[in-house]
């Protein structure tokens, strides 16, 4: 049974487009954003409304996007361009500028396309290929200062250190609460499923952070109170990893559920990962450091098995969440994650954790082929003696 707090999140989301339109009429400006290192606290501190853009699961949008970019480019990228070409999305219709960071080079190139074809004002935050050298860190510090300057021009006001500290505190609260909720979801008894939490995380793309923080706190309070607690369903405990699973892209999630698998944790760019940013010092430099020190994106190329704490983070989540197997989702032409698939499989295999790569796109034509792979993977896990309701270690993500 769905918690009332989740229903409240849905209600808030339903009224959000009208709120944004009303705010814009009052002079507010909306910054749509894409990427992995775009510091939303800075956007918010400047009085701008940050909205994370992009939708998945709609092959029609992919085809529209392919009128402007090669069909050998990432499916999510093509769908995102399709959103701007079509301009029916309630949030895309209301953006005044788009902020993109260069972590994923395909997303970085999207800024050119939005500017060239759709005359969208874009602000691009350049990101070094590695954060491990002093030169690269100094470069990112300078780039973020430039990024702030560009946003100040859009906002028509300089960045106020006090407001920045308030925004950092607000987003830190959201991230802490999200990590706590993930902790509860990965436990044996639950009143909130991973699917519901994932939905709540996506609501945060659009809601005002003040409202969203309040809704998440309510959700956490109800979960901690044990409201609607039920025994965990049967089935192997699955971790989802890999490419973005954007709002609307539910094909794989539904197939896993229908096959009897139970997602208990993820490390997705569109899931837990943004909540792993920890800002110690509420300044532009402190924010830059926090984004550089977070779990890196698979697109960061200068990573090896000793220094890639993305892999270390994955293994920690696997152990702490008592994961039976990992489903590694790769979107067609999403190079960062497809390049890493074999490495991830080997690292997990060395720990005795099976992994399957599911390579897909937004078309429905591969649904049954994916179903066979996922069902076979669940059968594989079951044959290894996976038992539902296994005692689960404490998870602090």
């Amino acid at each position: 049974m769905t918690l009332r707090a989740i229903a409240n999140v849905r209600d808030a989301l339903a009224s959000r487009p009208a709120e944004i339109e009303a705010a814009r009429k009052q002079g507010a400006k909306v910054i749509g954003w894409f990427g992995y290192a775009t510091p939303i606290e800075i956007i918010h501190a400047l009085g701008l409304i940050p909205i994370r853009l992009g939708r998945g699961g709609d092959d029609r949008l992919v085809e529209i996007g392919a009128r402007y970019i090669s069909n050998q480019n990432c499916v999510f990228l093509r769908a995102s361009i399709g959103l701007f070409a079509e301009k029916n999305d309630v949030y895309v219709k209301n953006v005044d500028a788009v902020a993109i960071d260069g972590t994923c080079l395909q997303m970085y190139r999207m800024a050119d396309l939005l500017d060239y074809y759709f005359k969208v004002k874009t602000v691009v935050l350049c990101v070094p290929r590695t954060f491990q050298t002093a030169g690269a860190r100094a470069y990112f510090h300078r780039e973020l200062q430039w990024f702030v300057h560009e946003l100040e021009e859009i906002a028509g006001t300089p960045l106020d250190p006090e407001k920045l500290a308030e925004s950092v505190a607000l987003y830190s609260s959201i991230r802490n609460t999200t990590r706590e909720l993930y902790h509860h979801v990965s436990r044996g008894r639950l009143s909130l499923t991973w699917r519901e939490l994932y939905e709540a995380v996506h609501a945060g793309y659009y809601l005002s952070p003040e409202k969203y923080a309040s809704l998440l706190h309510e959700l956490l309070a109800r979960v901690e109170h044990g409201e609607n607690t039920v025994a965990a369903s049967d089935g192997p405990r699955i971790m989802l990893s890999g490419s973005v699973l954007a709002p609307g892209d539910t094909k794989l999630i539904e197939i896993i559920e229908q096959a009897g698998g139970r997602v208990v944790v993820d490390d997705l760019w569109s899931g837990l990962s943004p909540s792993l940013v920890r800002i110690n010092e509420p300044t532009v430099t402190g924010i830059a450091d926090a984004y550089m020190d977070r779990v890196p994106h698979a697109a960061q190329p200068h990573l090896d098995r000793q220094t890639d704490h993305r892999l270390a983070n994955m293994m920690r989540l696997v152990r702490e969440s008592n994961v039976d197997g990992v489903i590694y989702h790769t979107l067609r032409y999403c190079d960062p994650f497809t390049f890493k698939a074999v490495e991830v499989k080997e690292v997990l295999g060395n720990e005795g954790i099976p992994m399957i790569e599911i390579h897909t796109e937004y078309a429905g034509s591969d649904t049954e082929a994916i179903r066979t792979r996922v069902e076979a993977f669940i059968e594989l896990l079951t044959s290894r003696g996976c038992r539902p309701g296994q005692p689960v270690a404490e998870v602090r993500v």
């Binding site: 099976p354 034509s365 082929a369 179903r371 066979t372 792979r373 076979a376 059968e379 594989l380 044959s383």
Partner: protein
């Protein structure tokens, strides 16, 4: 399924993209089998081939205690007690026939898979082809059509090659045009056909490398009847391959029947 007073039998039905297969097993081993075209109504081909297999086994439906369906058409098999993926079923069928099997290559009508199994016949890893006909029976059918050669003759022709003409494409459409241009260039059909088999086997070897090839390699699926493909795979994998004396097309259905027996007996059949 109902259970009669006599020793029960167990059935597996594999509803594949091109053919539907059934195998019935009992205490005496494999009691009967059957193959029919799947056609456009997989929910009907299953019961049809079940009746054929029952007749071959001289049994009635009431003699079968448990039935497992597999294959892409398993989703529309209301008649089954349980459904299991063809990956698990091929593994179990191969292990039943040849317990030393640790790697299985299955080439069916519309997909191709490499499966690793452990010493208990359980799947430990697998890989499947993408949503593409390369490496499937359908690819070979289209290619044999280009030469106007019966599919059963395609493999033997490859074995008569004096040279291997490289084929660069495993895309069915592109390979067809490439083959036509090679014929026009005057290349020997046998050599081109050998190249076709090599192109597929090299692709499968790449897929096999992702799961690792160890132990005895077992070849199942309808394409396993093709001696030319067996030879090409042995070259690409640098390993000998076992093709069962039992019809390799029936290995998935056999595995389903084996699982039916295990599950049915646990349930008290």
């Amino acid at each position: 399924m109902c259970q009669s007073a006599s020793e029960p039998a167990f059935a597996g039905i594999d509803v594949g993209s091109l053919t539907t297969k059934a195998v019935i097993i009992s205490n005496d081993g494999i009691a009967g089998s059957g193959v029919v075209p799947t056609g456009v109504r997989p929910e009907e081909s299953g019961p049809e081939v079940f009746r054929i297999a029952l007749k071959a086994a001289n049994l009635s439906e009431e003699d079968v205690a448990y039935l497992v369906a597999t294959g892409y058409g398993r989703v529309s098999s209301d008649y089954a007690d349980k459904t299991v993926t063809e990956i698990t079923c091929h593994a179990r069928g191969a292990y039943y026939l040849h317990p030393a099997t640790r790697t299985i290559i299955d080439m069916g009508g519309q997909d191709c898979k490499v499966i690793r199994v452990n010493g208990e016949g359980n799947v430990t890893d697998f890989a499947m082809n993408d949503k593409c006909a390369a490496g499937t029976g359908r690819f070979l059918e289209v290619m044999s059509g280009v030469f106007k050669v019966d599919i059963n003759e395609f493999g033997p022709m490859a074995l008569r090659a004096t040279d291997v003409v490289p084929i660069s494409s495993t895309c069915t459409v592109f390979a067809e045009s490439e083959v036509i241009s090679l014929i026009a260039r005057g290349e020997l059909p046998e050599n081109i056909i050998s190249g076709i088999h090599s192109a597929i086997s090299n692709r499968i070897a790449g897929m096999a490398a992702r799961v690792g090839v160890e132990g005895d390699v077992f070849f199942s699926g309808g394409v396993a009847k093709n001696a030319g493909m067996k030879a090409a795979l042995e070259r690409s994998l640098r390993s000998s391959i076992t093709v069962p004396a039992f019809d390799p097309q029936l290995v998935g259905a056999l595995g389903a029947a084996v699982i039916a027996e295990t599950t049915g007996r646990k349930a008290g059949a």
